[in-house]
Chain length 354, copies 4
């Protein structure tokens, strides 16, 4: 389907991002959830919470497991979450006598949140690499055009001439700060969630901590003191970071669109968009898209903060809202970085400053 432009066969090339979106495909999602179940069974077998043979049987079953997506969809419409049916199917695949050991001690949110953590971790790697690339390109642009004079504009009026370098650095430096912020953000989101029904790992007794440590190691995720089922600051902080990135790129886009105005001409665009009514025009499409994506994420970040009011030990309402917002924000950020890199490759500051 194509309700969201980020999933749209035509518009996703403009506003979406194939690489980041891949982390939010159903396939990647199911794979990550099964990675959780495999790590759980492996760790529990190591600690003799479940029989070694069960751990082996579950790992084998997962290796060749193809969930029935249609049935997952039907059950999710009823259960509000895919995990109960996924576990049911996985248990059927494992078969007797080990099926009862699947998902032992875990709850749906453990699976979903950890599955998200696994994927967002990789997505953040990619976003980081793009930030680095964009910073580099801006450095090259600065080397080439930085000495050209441009008119500084304050309150939409010409102020005084400055070197283009000044403008370029106002685009680059926030990116360096976002780059630095990322390690903090990652630390709170790329973590294992494992708490069981009410966040207390009640079924694991004294071994909870050790199982958790082993699972985290298997999955390459950070460990936190307990499952943050209802503490969603990591998610909201991630959303804020994504929106900081798109916001800074939106500022760059707005600057470029203004500098490329027909009568201003301080920036020349190569490869802008075509108009259906006026084929001679060169539209600053990429620059405008950066503004759009900035305002999109600036809109959605609000919902992620609303979702902090996550009542009790698990709020279906607040948790589900995150699912509706975070993947879109991540993909929009990927799209903005991709667009920005392409845009910077295709602009030049006029030598005369106008």
């Amino acid at each position: 389907m194509s309700v969201s432009v980020l999933d749209h066969p035509i518009l996703a090339g403009l506003l979406g991002d194939r690489e980041i979106a891949a982390f939010f495909s159903v396939e990647a999602e199911l794979e990550a959830m099964l990675d959780f179940e495999a790590a759980l069974a492996g760790a529990e077998a190591e600690k003799s919470i479940i029989p070694e043979a069960a751990g082996k049987a579950i790992a084998d079953a997962i290796a060749g497991f193809r969930p029935d997506v249609e049935k997952l969809a039907q059950a999710t419409a009823r259960d509000g979450v895919v995990v109960p049916e996924l576990v049911r199917q996985l248990r059927a695949a494992v078969g007797k006598p080990h099926s009862g050991h699947v998902h032992f001690g875990a709850t749906s949110q453990d699976v979903i949140d950890t599955g998200f953590a696994l994927r967002i971790g990789k997505a953040l790697d990619l976003l980081q690499a793009r930030i680095d690339m964009l910073v580099e390109r801006l450095g090259e642009l600065d080397l080439r055009d930085g000495a050209n004079p441009v008119m500084a504009h304050t309150r939409m009026q010409a102020a005084i001439e400055v070197p283009a370098s000044r403008k370029i650095s106002s685009w680059r430096e926030p990116l360096l700060r976002h780059r630095a912020r990322l390690s903090t953000v990652r630390k709170e989101i790329a973590v294992l969630t494992f708490g069981g029904a009410a966040g207390t790992l009640d079924k694991l007794g004294s071994t909870g901590e050790q199982v958790t440590a082993r699972m985290a190691k298997r999955l390459g995720l950070g460990i936190v003191s307990h499952a943050r089922h209802s503490e969603r600051d990591g998610q909201a902080e991630l959303a804020g970071w994504l929106s900081l990135v798109t916001g800074s790129l939106g500022k760059m886009g707005a600057d470029i669109a203004l500098a490329a105005q027909s009568k201003i001409g301080e920036i020349r665009l190569k490869g802008g968009g075509v108009s259906s009514a006026m084929p001679h025009k060169v539209n600053p499409v990429g620059a405008e898209v950066l503004v759009t994506l900035a305002r999109f994420n600036a809109t959605l970040v609000s919902g992620m903060h609303q979702a902090l009011v996550h009542e009790n030990e698990r709020s279906g309402a607040a948790w589900t809202l995150e699912w509706m917002l975070l993947p879109q924000m991540a993909v929009a950020t990927g799209a903005a970085l991709r667009t920005a890199i392409d845009l910077i490759d295709n602009i030049e500051f006029s030598a005369k400053g106008d």
Copy 2:
């Protein structure tokens, strides 16, 4: 792809809506845009703006036309809008000597906005029918359970007992008002957009008004005094209406989730969701989803109001933002109404009030 839960093979059954989403499929979108081009050519032929033979040739070509979606995607990534490439493909399909008459006097925004109007008009019909159905079901619930006593709660504390009827009417009456508001909303959105490059129909001279009238008639859309390329109050008002509907349903969902709490038990749920950790629980999934969808639309409506700041004669930035938000809001509203109808069919007020 499945970045948005509304397009997600597993989650769309929970949070999306197949019927409303169908209006936002690529197929429906292309069809609606081609309907615009057909109506344009037909009306222009009638008024001899283009040769009658050209009108016929364009209509024939459109009837059998299959756009190359991959090429549309590539061009859109560059142009920021699908129309230039779509027109190019259509012209190729029309062939000489009539190809030059395709899209005469129109601009991309005419095609996109009218295409949206055609589809949202039908989507609103469906939403209206669902509101009517939900109002009816609430009436039936009232007839059956309305006399049962329930505890009114103010500020989360028990206040005094009231008949369930009072609570049911607080769910139903806002729907009746939304129903009444819909005709106003529809009047400003289900309209033809036809303005040409700068909204003045500059290429049509004195015939602009007559061509517009004929096009509107062919398309079954309302006529407005001129193309509202940069006046987006109709879109923002639509977004507001969609969010009013989901907001009222969110209130109903919150009420039901509260009344169905284990220790309150004023409402009993049939067919709630299953938990992966606690199979005995019956989760008020539909009620929670209503809250989620309400908060989702309440979040997105902000972006639609930001998009009112639509600079100049056409803002790529603000216009594109609408594309990112409105279809999702419409589908979320469809999902909320569908969920609400199902939920009301599956609740009963306890006879004793607790």
Copy 3:
């Protein structure tokens, strides 16, 4: 205090509005609440719900009543709403034997919501008058400058020349539509709220409807079928309308700031702002403020839609959120209209189109 710029001794002249703010002063608020209590006592005395002498005594007491604001503040910090203490003070002022008849059958929300309705009704009158005035000024501007050519810009690039009239009408016509929408908005907000503890007027028995009718008449407010304590679509719709108005003015502001750019010069500003660093600049302050106010209301409207999720018969959380948002939105709208009128009085379209 001056936490909000709308209350700020220095900034309120720029971003606030003295006349609209007056409706949200403590004095106006207390007066409106006392008007409710007077109308209640009067109507109840007419229908013999309370003794005629009590009605008279209450009216007399209210006429000379000066609430102790400090005590109101202290009690509100505890009670979450001012009404219990206000009623206590009023009862003390009425004295024996009639004090017990004060506020009979009413609840805090009746007083607060009706008090708001009384004031917003007058505020809407003023906003409407300003819209009318702005429409008129735009008409005069059109008469004077409408034939001047201006460059239409699409996607931030020069497109084709159009008469200034086209641009002016894109500013004026949304205002006419907002004007038309206002009567619908007003109908749902300028209403009496009278429902008692749980919205059922339980203490008034069969006379509820008649007392309601008499109160509404005394207060000049509309009657609705029952108190909408938990149905907040009227409030959210009002917020949407306010944001539609500021959004359309924000578009006008953005257009003017762009057209007044140093190198564009299609619009000349009289009386812009002074810069501390560059005294020669003329800044399009009013135009920018319109954009600011548009984005402010576009932000706040989201919270008003979140507040639709108003659980149970009265949600302290959701209701209080309205108090934090709606007055600011109304004042911002007043400020935008005032600023817009002043701005239109101080621009002229260049005769040469550039």
Copy 4:
């Protein structure tokens, strides 16, 4: 005035915060701006940018300077910013021959942004102290009631019993993380802004860096590589942090309101609010207010992210939007922490778990 509840004589006691609001009084604001001018003159005198006598004369004048607030308001309504008139008044106070050395090389945004930095730094100290106090109180609550059993609720349904300690730690741990995040936030916001007209300190030549260092030292602010006039990530990050804090407290408030429901009774409230219609009720006012403040900040944070799209070297539109949002967010956060501390002091977990 009292448009905002945060400035409201009656409501600010409930929803505002006297201590944090004090940093946003006009007096504090003017004082901070004059501190900037004094530090500027002092540093410039040290580096012989201005005569030593001028530095002395400016310092002396500032010491006894009382701005004419009414004139400041009038000029601000025209200039969009208070600084030009403030500098004019200050120059008059300094008098000949030194008046021309006032504000040398600086621009309005330097004064405003630095003035804000000075005040928010102190406000953050206070917020931090309150977080510490709240963490401590939660620790005490845990010691006293942590072993009491409470029912964990997932998806609004009773799940399994857990110790109250588990719930309390889900309130406390996010606060510890916010505490840790604060140093990062502070580093980017409690900084000197000094860039001159276009951010290049063009009037200071080679001494810019040294003057900046001396000013920062005098003001106790951090130094950044150049003025971030148009890079607003520090402001948006601050807003995000404020909303993270209120969001986590909103979760706590929601939990407490749910646990204090009449039929749940897992938490008992001392000192709740009084109802005007039902004097026997004890309303969880503080708990609800926490939800309100969370949703308020979650709404406003969106506007701060919109303001990241800060075009060119200074955007009047985007910058002014910050003024409308940030002070309110800071005060709301102060109010939430104050309310939370008071609430925790007034709850107890029922010994029996229900």
